[in-house]
């Protein structure tokens, strides 16, 4: 009936619509197409091949900058030099027990050489800034960094509250020094580091692991007992 011409279902017959969009395709000479294609390919290669290529390495693959005289020295001399350097470094390292405080992660470590004997949650300085507008003063509650030493070991420490402790809660600073003493808030023990800073206990053990203090380092009761027992006057304390 249709003379061998395949029929197209009506639904598939393209119809001209009032909304038809005409797309004008410019005629590009074949030579220019090759150039454009080449440039695109080059861009892809450059983009894919630009960046950082990761290569797994063994520690021995990493090279060192070696002074010329050392590179040609005999093994016996190099070995003696190695012993000397190792011995110097050993002498600089703390001997026996020492304390390390990571004030950002709020962790305290009691170390003995390579061994970590206590790994405890602590609370370090909040970093807050307190302003006393009346007398134009301000305090920053940071735990200081660096190397300190245990200067005093104190049992049942009593807190002599400084001015900021009253100002912070909006109370007047007392004139009578006896009104500054507070009992029990520092826990069972304190290790005095100097300049008003201590490692001590706390009534707020639920806040351990968070930076809440005015610069001191707070420890939980059980950890404080271990640290206090191990520390001596002179024990180094490193805070970072």
């Amino acid at each position: 009936m249709n003379d061998g011409i395949p029929t197209v279902p009506r639904a598939y017959v393209p119809r001209r619509s009032a909304f038809a969009v005409r797309i004008a395709v410019p005629r590009v000479p074949r030579r220019r197409l090759w150039i454009v294609g080449g440039l695109v390919l080059l861009a892809v290669v450059v983009l894919l091949g630009t960046g950082y290529d990761t290569r797994a390495v063994a520690p021995s693959d990493i090279r060192a900058v070696v002074p010329e005289d050392a590179a040609s020295a005999p093994v016996s001399k190099l070995r003696a030099e190695n012993r000397k350097l190792t011995s110097y470094l050993d002498r600089l390292a703390p001997r026996g027990t020492y304390i390390v405080v990571d004030r950002t992660n709020n962790r305290l470590y009691l170390r003995d050489g390579d061994e970590v004997r206590v790994d405890a949650a602590c609370s370090a300085g909040s970093g807050a800034l307190l302003k006393d507008t009346d007398r134009d003063r301000q305090w920053v509650f940071d735990t200081p960094t660096g190397r300190f030493r245990v200067q005093k070991k104190i049992e049942d420490p009593v807190w002599k509250k400084p001015d900021w402790a009253f100002i912070e809660i909006g109370e007047p600073v007392p004139r009578d020094p006896n009104d500054r003493f507070e009992y029990g808030t520092l826990g069972e023990y304190a290790l005095y580091l100097g300049d008003g800073y201590m490692i001590h206990g706390t009534l707020y053990e639920r806040l351990l692991g968070r930076a809440v203090t005015h610069g001191c380092v707070r420890l939980g009761r059980d950890d404080l007992r271990k640290v206090y027992a191990a520390a001596r006057v002179g024990t180094p304390v490193y805070i970072y």
Binding site: Y52, I62, A64, V100, N105, A128, T145, E168
Partner: protein
């Protein structure tokens, strides 16, 4: 008196004769280049230990990464894998691999760790307010560790760490694409780029804690095995 002296001399000569080949054998076993490289690193570590800055020691003999101060180990982190990331432009290698045995200065975190200080103003306190009742954020909330971070040193070396998606933030496909674009830019622009990146695998928690805890402007020395 002559008898014992002679005996001692004979014994010493005998010991020397017996010991010399053993020493020579040890010398033959020891690689002078390896020893010289290790010594170069130790000499730099000694210089750092005498200084007043916090520093990192990447000891490839462990391999371990140590945060140190004046010769004391503050933290020691086990390195689980090592990778070199070499800058390339169109697959052409631009890396320089002699990175051990020298001091790298001015380590800075990228992305940087921001610290916001709370300002306490007692004049703003209302009746019944208790400043101690405010519960501050945990370190993880205060300083969220990114999925990937770098410690970049002056002179073009960077240490790269991955914290893992569980501990860090910003993982996923978009982060990976952003990393690729950033890397391509860093490789293309010499002022922005790193001559070499050392990818250091740590336990995700260690990597995240290091991001939060590493002091500003640490120095670095790499010790070869």
């Amino acid at each position: 008196m002559r008898g014992p002296r002679r005996t001692a001399a004979v014994l010493a000569a005998l010991l020397l004769a017996l010991g010399a080949p053993a020493l020579a054998k040890d010398d033959a076993k020891e690689d002078p280049a390896r020893l010289a490289a290790r010594n170069a690193g130790l000499a730099q570590e000694l210089e750092l230990a005498k200084g007043d800055d916090f520093y990192l020691v990447l000891d490839l003999a462990g391999p371990v990464l140590r945060l140190m101060y004046k010769g004391a180990v503050l933290r020691e982190l086990q390195v689980t894998s090592l990778g070199l990331k070499v800058p390339e432009i169109a697959f052409v290698d631009r890396g320089d691999r002699a990175i051990a045995g020298r001091i790298w200065e001015g380590g800075r975190l990228d992305p940087p760790r921001h610290r916001e200080r709370t300002v306490l103003d007692p004049s703003q306190l209302k009746e019944g307010d208790d400043p101690s009742a405010i519960i501050p954020p945990t370190p993880e909330e205060a300083y969220p560790a990114p999925h990937r971070y770098l410690i970049r040193y002056d002179g073009g070396l960077a240490l790269e760490f991955t914290t893992g998606e569980a501990a860090g933030t910003g993982g996923g496909v978009f982060s990976s694409i952003a990393d690729l674009v950033r890397d391509a830019k860093a490789a293309l622009l010499p002022s922005d780029g790193d001559r070499l990146r050392l990818e250091i695998g740590l336990a995700p928690e260690d990597a995240a804690n290091l991001y939060r805890g590493v002091p500003q402007s640490t120095r670095l020395v790499i010790l070869t095995p």
